[in-house]
Symmetry: C3
Subunit: 390 residues, 3 copies
Amino acid sequence: MPVGDEWILEGLDGIPPRLAETAQSLALIDHHVHGCYVEKIDRGAFEESFNEASTDPIPAFMTQFDSQPGFAFRRWCAPLLGLERHAPADEYWAARSALTPAELDRRLLPLAGVEHWVMDTGFSLRPITDPAAMAAESGGATSEIVRLEVVAEGLLATGVAPADFAEAFRAAIAEAAVEAKGFKTIVAYRVGFDIDWEPPTDAAVAAAVARWAALGQERPRLSDPVLEAFVVHAAVALGLPLQVHVGFGDRDLDLHRTNPMLLLPLLRRAEVQRTPIMLLHCYPYHRESAYLAQGFDNVYFDIGLGVNYLGAQSRQLIAEALELAPFAKQLYSSDAFGLPELHLVGSILWRRGMAAALGRWVREGEWSEHDACRVLEMIGAENARRVYGL
Amino acid sequence: MPVGDEWILEGLDGIPPRLAETAQSLALIDHHVHGCYVEKIDRGAFEESFNEASTDPIPAFMTQFDSQPGFAFRRWCAPLLGLERHAPADEYWAARSALTPAELDRRLLPLAGVEHWVMDTGFSLRPITDPAAMAAESGGATSEIVRLEVVAEGLLATGVAPADFAEAFRAAIAEAAVEAKGFKTIVAYRVGFDIDWEPPTDAAVAAAVARWAALGQERPRLSDPVLEAFVVHAAVALGLPLQVHVGFGDRDLDLHRTNPMLLLPLLRRAEVQRTPIMLLHCYPYHRESAYLAQGFDNVYFDIGLGVNYLGAQSRQLIAEALELAPFAKQLYSSDAFGLPELHLVGSILWRRGMAAALGRWVREGEWSEHDACRVLEMIGAENARRVYGL
Amino acid sequence: MPVGDEWILEGLDGIPPRLAETAQSLALIDHHVHGCYVEKIDRGAFEESFNEASTDPIPAFMTQFDSQPGFAFRRWCAPLLGLERHAPADEYWAARSALTPAELDRRLLPLAGVEHWVMDTGFSLRPITDPAAMAAESGGATSEIVRLEVVAEGLLATGVAPADFAEAFRAAIAEAAVEAKGFKTIVAYRVGFDIDWEPPTDAAVAAAVARWAALGQERPRLSDPVLEAFVVHAAVALGLPLQVHVGFGDRDLDLHRTNPMLLLPLLRRAEVQRTPIMLLHCYPYHRESAYLAQGFDNVYFDIGLGVNYLGAQSRQLIAEALELAPFAKQLYSSDAFGLPELHLVGSILWRRGMAAALGRWVREGEWSEHDACRVLEMIGAENARRVYGL
């Protein structure tokens, strides 16, 4: 069991002491994260939640435990369940299953050291904790991000007339903006980035909504480039930060059509340059995302999902994220979803990866220790605090 | 001269002992490899065989010895030829030339520690060893992979009527499947991946074959997108693993059209998901390939060619290949062709790179040594044994 | 203050002595570089010159000092201004401002250890030093590269008849070729690489020039694919090395359309293969560029701009540049522009990064120290000397 925070950097040699202290104890803002499952899940659902790859059952010849996140869970979470570190998968599963989801959350979440969770409360197949529950279980504050596609899909389900859709959507997100700290779009999943980014007219929106309604989907699913451009521009007009999923996700996504460079026609528009654009995840396009964060004053990025998925190898990714972009333009996130292991391990791996990269630069004299601590604080919390007004 | 296998990790510090032992002595399955030249070659042909880049003569201002593979040959093979390690290129060439090809094979191949070579016996400009000779010279077992384009080209050369081509091709590969362990396609070289992946009708195949035959090529060369889609679907229907060349090769290849993400329309088809798809080489798209291996239960990948070509710098590539994909989805290969140096050095570099990456993770406590050894065995042999039924 | 060159590798452990000596003292050829500002600049202009990202003012919430190049300037240049290393940004700015531009140049430039600057003397918003001044201030020799777009734009401004443009352009660059060591194109910025690379006829050129002239631009700006293909082919015909900007630059550039693989239709032309093609910068496409340098005898590449922009993290980039390409095909450059800090820090970071990567390979026995020193000399100077005939 951990005592204080010293366990987080265990095994890393030569981290200068003040940097180590900052990396271990810094209160993070996780600027893109989801809730935890509120009901017990079976082992299949558990392993499928290690990543977003697919909703197929895990094939009989393998287990997702044999992956970087699986090894990271067994390393970092097993001791918190009363097991040896690296406990075998079956033991891990048995110990985890013996706890209720809420017990598990309360055991793991506080150790992430997150003072504020900025939560995407959009759609989930299984019930997940809402911001109030997350706050109670973790000890951190919470804020909400509103997913644009969810608002549009809910609106269509109300049977709004196509001609009224644009106005009703604008009203709905304006109301949401009173409480929310930002918006999010998953245009990457739905149509890719290589669409016409000219703001559509209300008439074009009405026509697209009419086509969509005519599909008679039981569960409306927005996947129309006109409507994606519309919801993005409607959100941008409100000035709250807009989170944009970039790069990998599930296999329905055409990864090569989520290269963030394809957002250039959107980013070059003057009215868009007045709203913070937050590029999420970005792997394997994190270098391209950092280039955009360097080139546009209003563009930011994170490497959220990648850190958890890459486990021990996330160290290189974390270093690669420290290339082009000024340090005021990167944020921390875990993009954890469902499993509190992800909320915790995302934080541990990021702290370790930053300590290792920055520690080497300090040790070799390239950076001062003071600067290294400042950069940790900027990316870990300060940039999010400023951009979201927390 | 090496004594036991301890020389393989020489110069690497801090590898935990059991991991070192496994990395040195693990019997590999090289799941994609070619034979060795059976005739003596001149120095020009030797240097041109360091990579696939071009068949031009090496320009007078340079030597391919001054490259990562050149340095790796001089480091690892010179002592096996009775020279000092890093012996000068001229000395290396002189010592190598003093041996017959078979002597050279028998000296280098057994040291690769490969228990099974899965050989692509397709086309070569120069005579190369067949599986029986490889087995005799290396001490390892051998199996064959049948190259689809070679079968199709041979069939056209027989003068089969275009209307009979589809059926004749299916019969030919069904017969080949009795002995072969899998198929391979070089669609990447011939037309790229951005083609229509809908299975063509037999009528469309007949029309394409008629066009092809009308070209009157002395040496038939399949380079038609309809026929490439046809041969791939015909092979997939047989259920044997299908190897797909991905990423770099020679300069005739449009590298950006071999991004494996362009295979998504093929991979998303239900009937394709019943056959193992083996993405070969993949550099510089190994991160994209690992993403596909994570997303599709039937997709696997390797970084074969890259390890040899990157030499001392392959260590980073080997670590990058341990990012997204579950460890059950990656395989070892050398893709060695012609020079037994490639068969050997591919093995040494991979053993060293894995020992270095996994060794650090074990040392820093992120992985257990037991897991590290298991992953070495999975990627080095076990996954290939399972997928190919060896 | 530095004594000798030993300070350059300070903080790096375990560099073998002869390699360290070579890395510290090797006289470089910087084969792609610009002059320094000749007039005093204000702090905004200074920070905007850290990179090419944008010409917007730096936003109030940040400073470009908080970036990899900012940290590198404070580390490496502050002691040369009489400050502690890592001196705060305000102190750095105060000390820098106390010197005239020429004083600053004379203090920093000689320490770069560059014996020959191959200068792109093309367009600049602010006056910059010409080759004579650079030579005087740095102690190195200088040569010139002629930017094709500047020549074409100057020609249009003379009011040449469209029908005479092609001939006049050929005459102008033939005259320039008497003194210049090569040409450069920024086709990446202007139209991207995905254009028709067939050499246009003089009639097609005349028509394109007529359209261009009709725009009545106050300051003519070439941005027509026909004319870009024309100027490139005209330059190639003269046989002097042609520098091609590849990869990142400012935000007007469609980064994904500067993937060097899109140059394949140009590079495959026989007449182009007789002229050295120098791919500049290349990040984040340096692996693709190295692949082209491996595949084509006349293709070379550098990672100039990236080294400065990545600061302490440039070490990984420098190692990645040592993958596919034979060592005779890579060159050193800083691409420094305006700030002598960039001329100096580019050199220091490259020396350190090479010493670190090669030093590890020597230490671990993969490379001989002799080879490591040879590769430093090849990339640092010898390749440029041969290609440009210096």
